[in-house]
Each structure stands twice: as C-alpha cells, then as structure tokens.
C-alpha cells in the first residue's frame, strides 16, 4: 500500500512540476490544417508562425519566448470540442487563436466559456457566435456585414439588376445568402433564383442549366473555393459566357487562380495587400520572403490575432479572466489594436467592425478592384 502511495506521490509531483517548468508562453492556434479546407489553414498557419517568430525576434513578451502550438480540428465540430477541452484544461494556455469554421467554433464555444478561456477567431464569420460567450472575440467582420456589403457593391458599382444565388448548404454560405438577399431586395436587385449544393457534390450542371435560362447578370457564389472553381468552369461549359461571378471571402483562395474560367471573378476580403496601410508593408515583405507568396486574408488576420493575444498577455500577464477583460476593454477606435489588416476593436459581443475590400482576378492574379465601396 505504501509503495502505491509513494508512486502516486511521485506521479503527482512529476505532473505538476512538468507544467511549472515550461518556460515559453504557449499560444495555441486551432483551425483546420488538413482536410478539404487545408488551403485556408495554410494561411492561418503561416500567419501565426510568422508573427510568433517576429515576437520572439523582438525578445518575446516581457522577456518570455512565445510558442505557437498548432491544433488541427479538421473543421469538424466533434474534433473541435476535443481540442477545445484539451486547451481549456491546459493551465499553460491563457488565450488562444482559433477556429476557422463556424460550426467548429460553435462546438468549442461552451467549453471555453466554462473554462473562462478567451479565444480570438481570425476567420469565423457566422452571425450567431458573438452573443453566445463573453470569452469569444473575433477580428473579422460578420457574414451579415459582408452580405450587405456585397449587395451594395453589386448594385452601386457593378450595376447588376438580376442576380442568381448558388450557395452551399452550410452555415457560412447560408448566412451570407440570407444577408445578401435581404439587402439586394432593398436595393431593387432581382434575385432570379436561389439554388443549393452540398460540399461533396461535383455536379452543378442541373442547377447551372436552370440559371442559364434565367439569364442573370451575375451569379453570387457564397461558398468555398474548391467548389467555387468547379462551379465557374461548369457554368462556362453549359454555355454561360457573359455572366459574371462573385463571391465572398470563402472564394479568396489561390485555388481560383488556376482556373482560367474564373477571370474577372470578384470577392470581398478583409485584407488587400495593395490597399493595406504602411504597417502591412513589412508584413507582406516578410511573408513573401518566407513563404514565397502574397499573404491572403487568413494569414493577415491570424497574424493580427496572434499579435493581439501577445499584446494582451504582455499587458496583464497570463491570467485568463484578466486577458478577457483587457480584450473587452478595446472597445473604441482610439483603443484599437493596429494590425496589418486594419484596426481591431470589439463591440459588447466581441465582434469587430472592419472594412471590407473587393478584389478580382485579372490575368490569373488577385488584384484590388479599381473601384472600392466607401
């Protein structure tokens, strides 16, 4: 009996001492790094690692090094919840950057709330997230804003009168679709039809054929790039030559560039390299030097989110509740965090107000649209 007790004591000491000794500050980044949305995850990963390196190069946070820990949740709500539990119960973690998909975010949310762990999402745009937990923040705009913005852009700049919507059956896509439809009706754009597809389909021709007969000015695709590129090609192959396509930030992916049919497609994005402020120039340069490509908005937003987390830790130390209060206190333009993708400050729900930009594909490259909506 004594022996067992002894072993247990040793175990306890070992386990507690192991935590205590760990020196670097851990900032976990939870998103999908593998799976269908891996190309989004890549931006997130790159942005986070770059910021981590930069912080460490400047001597860390108050002298302590930062360690970026990547947690893969495959955009699967169940995986997200397991990862969230792991993080919530890790005393070394005081703030995290995470979750890409809104469904993953919604699954993880209650766990962070119960563990009083503040989280900053660089990419979850679903409307309903904000109100659900005081511990959740995001430095990206919401779907309703984006949908509204797109409708205005389509009306005022592009002058579309008839638009068809082709959305995926998921939270992101449908949130956008609803917001867009609402605003479009106000502006007098005719929504000719709304069709849906699921993520595992590759045949979009029946719906596109239907659209073709309606003769829309443009088709709005509030989905992700893997399907977006297929939709565009198939639309061309069913004979839609003179129809424009536009989407939201889900289509903002280099995958679209490989598709010659996508020429002229425009999307909204929270970050535009050529329109970004002076502080972004260094980031873009460093990013290009390190990864050999232009950063996308996932990279920029994650870069900012990690920076924000680091700033919070630097200001109030590694205390979850204090960090949360600190983040919540950034509630006006004056107190905002100056990031590469603009100023970040939160409203009472932890949502942020940010500008959106429009970029389009020109000669196989993303470029900022000539006319932006102000």
């Amino acid at each position: 009996m004594k022996k067992i007790l002894g072993i247990l004591c040793v175990l306890v000491m070992l386990s507690t001492s192991a935590w205590a000794e760990s020196k670097p500050i851990r900032i976990p980044v939870a998103a999908a790094f593998t799976g269908q949305l891996a190309s989004f995850g890549e931006g997130i990963q790159n942005g986070a690692l770059l910021k981590g390196e930069e912080i460490n190069a400047r001597g860390g946070i108050n002298g302590q090094k930062v360690k970026i820990v990547l947690e893969d949740e495959l955009c699967d709500p169940k995986e997200a919840a397991t990862v969230a539990t792991k993080l919530a119960n890790d005393p070394r973690v005081s703030v995290l950057v995470g979750h890409l998909c809104s469904s993953a975010t919604l699954a993880a949310l209650p766990i962070y709330r119960d563990a009083h762990l503040p989280a900053i999402s660089p990419a979850s745009t679903n409307v309903s997230i904000g109100k659900m937990s005081p511990y959740y923040f995001r430095n990206v705009y919401r779907d309703d804003f984006q949908g509204l913005f797109l409708a205005k852009y389509a009306h005022h700049i592009k002058g579309y009168e008839k638009v068809a919507i082709f959305h995926e059956v998921n939270d992101y896509s449908m949130g956008l679709m609803l917001a867009f439809t609402k605003q479009a009706k106000k502006l007098g754009i005719r929504i000719l039809g709304t069709e849906a597809y699921t993520a595992d389909t590759t045949d979009f021709k029946p719906q596109l054929t239907k659209f073709k007969m309606m003769k829309p000015d443009a088709i709005f695709i509030p989905g992700y790039a893997p399907q977006g590129t297929l939709i565009v090609s198939q639309a061309r192959s069913v004979g839609m030559r003179n129809v424009d396509f536009f989407g939201a930030d889900g289509l903002d992916d280099d995958l679209m560039l490989k598709n010659p049919d996508a020429e002229g497609l425009f999307v909204t994005t929270p970050f535009l390299p050529d329109k970004a402020g002076p502080q972004a120039a260094g980031f873009i340069k460093a990013y290009e030097a390190k990864y050999g490509k232009v950063p996308n908005w996932f990279a920029a937003n994650t870069y900012d989110a990690v920076g924000l987390a680091a700033q919070a830790i630097g200001a109030v130390g590694q205390d979850r509740v204090k960090i949360r209060d600190y983040l919540a206190s950034l509630n006006s333009k004056e107190k905002a965090y100056e990031g590469v993708a603009g100023k970040t400050y939160f409203d009472e729900n932890g949502d942020c107000l940010k500008d959106a930009f429009v970029k389009k594909i020109k000669d196989g490259k993303w470029v900022g649209a000539e006319k932006q909506l102000r």
Partner: protein, 337 residues
Amino acid sequence: MPRPQEVNRSQVLIIGLVLLALMLPWLPFGASTNYILRVLTTAVLYMILALGLNIVPGFTGLLDLGYVGFYGIGAYTSGLLAIHYDLSLWVILPLAALNGALWGILLGAPTLRLTGDYFAIVTFGFSELVVLVLRNELWLTRGPMGLPGISPPSIFGHPLTRDWEFFYLIVFLLAVVFVVVRRMEDSRLGRAWFAIREDEIAAQCCGVNLIRYKVTAFAISASIGAMGGAFYAKWFKFIHPDMFKFWESILILCLIVFGGMGSIWGTMLGALILIPLTEILRAVLPQSLFSARYLIYGLILVLMMRWRPEGLIPFESAQAEKAKQTQKRLTGLVGKE
C-alpha cells in the same frame, strides 16, 4: 448463505469496474484530469451506443448501417426539447428513447423482412436521409447552422458543468443500459433473438415470430441509440448535422466487430479500447496522417474479419460462460434441495 467462492466472477468484475469509475476523477492525473475525463466520457458514451447497436447485428444477426440515424434523432429530440421547452434531462431521456423506438419501428416494420444485404443498404439510406433532413429543414433544426445553446442537464436543481459530473452521469447511464441489455439477453426475448441470429428457419419452427422479434430488437436498439444521442446533445451543448454522418455508424460497427459481435463484454471492451485510441493517434500521428485515421478502422474491420471474425470476446465464449454460470446456479440449487 452464499459461500465466498460462489460469488461469480462477473459480479466481482462489475463491482470492481464501478468502483474504478467512481474513483477515476479523483486520481492524480494533474492538470490533464479533465481531458482524460472527457475522453473517457466519450468512450463510455460509445460503450452505450455499441451496446445498443450490438442488439441488431450481434444478437439478431442483421447488419444495421443506419444506427447513427437514431443517434441523430435522439440528439435532435433532446436538443429541440431543451431549447424550446427547457425540459429536464430526466424527461428528455425517455422521450428521446421513445422517439428513437418509434422511428425504429417505422423503419423496421417494412424493412426487416428483407434479406441481410438489402436490409443493410436500406438502413444506410435511412441514416443518410436523416442527415439530409437535419441539414435542410431549417425551420426545425436550423440546418447547417447547428443547434447551439442547449442548456446543460441539472440534478436536483444543480446544473452540471464540470467534467466529472458528466462522467458520473454517463457511467450511471451505462449502468442502466447494461442492466437492461443483460436482462434482455438472458430472457425469452434474448433467446428468440439468438435463435434468429443462428437460424431463422429453425427459429420460426420453434415458435418465434420473426418480424415481431426483429422489430423489437430494432426498436430497442434504436431507443438506446437515441438515448445516447440525447445525452450527447446535453453534454456537448451544440449539435450539428455533420456529427451524425455515416462514418459514425461505421465507427460503432467497428467497435462491436472488434470487441466481439453479440457479446456484451466484448462490445464494451471494444469501445473502451478503440475510442481512446483516437486520442492516442492524435498524439502519435503527424498532422497530415491524423485526418486519415479512419484507415486504421477500415483495416481493423478487414483484418478482424479475416483472422478473428468473432472478435476479442467471441459470442460463443460468452455463451459458454453463461452456460457455466447457469450450471453453477442449478447445481447450487440441487445441492440445497
């Protein structure tokens, strides 16, 4: 008075396991206790699900690929009841089980006269249709937006939030399901199922009404699955149609094939080994391989069928063990007389 050696082994095992489970939250795992508890809660949940599924392919010998449909129905029943009516878990559980059983009967009554493969395919189609409905009927399920904000269960007005509380709750549920399944197995009902599994024609000629007992098995299995789903919704506080995809059915099937189809201890052992295995894989495998972890489950199914189709604890040995217990009991009776 039972003498000490008459206490049978499985009773000792059960008592030991219950004690172990009760002690578990208080063992010194340091900061990772909650994580371990959460993984174990998942494992116990899958033990319940595996026990439920086991009734159909294990006891009755019909391959049911649509189990996750009932799991999803249970979860959404629970989630919707919790959100719209704010009912207590103790009201929700039986209602979810009832709803599961209802759908089980609706699906089972026309389909259970099909032969094995066709039955498997129809159940598969059913589970996919359930996911489609959950995904597209926005007015009811909010579709792909999922159902967030499900209130946690409470006991005597005390809401459960900590991981050990959920762990105790699920262990309690497992105990209930275990007792139910054990009683089913060791009764007229269970024997009729076994007879159908072994030989339908002979069973018929022994007076077993095939359809009735198959439907009963299906309904009970479905209601256990739905109950698991009900707990799941209350525990996760968020449910999403993607959580109830076909993979889950395969995973649960894999558990019972691995553990031993038809043996209660086997199915529980299968869940207890394979579910934590996922977490171990997460730690061991590199990121790029982790998303392909189902490869291992596929391999388990193939290899088990090839080399040990009866699983870790085979049905026969479970039956032989049961016969031995009966022998002990009967000779004990004879001795007393």
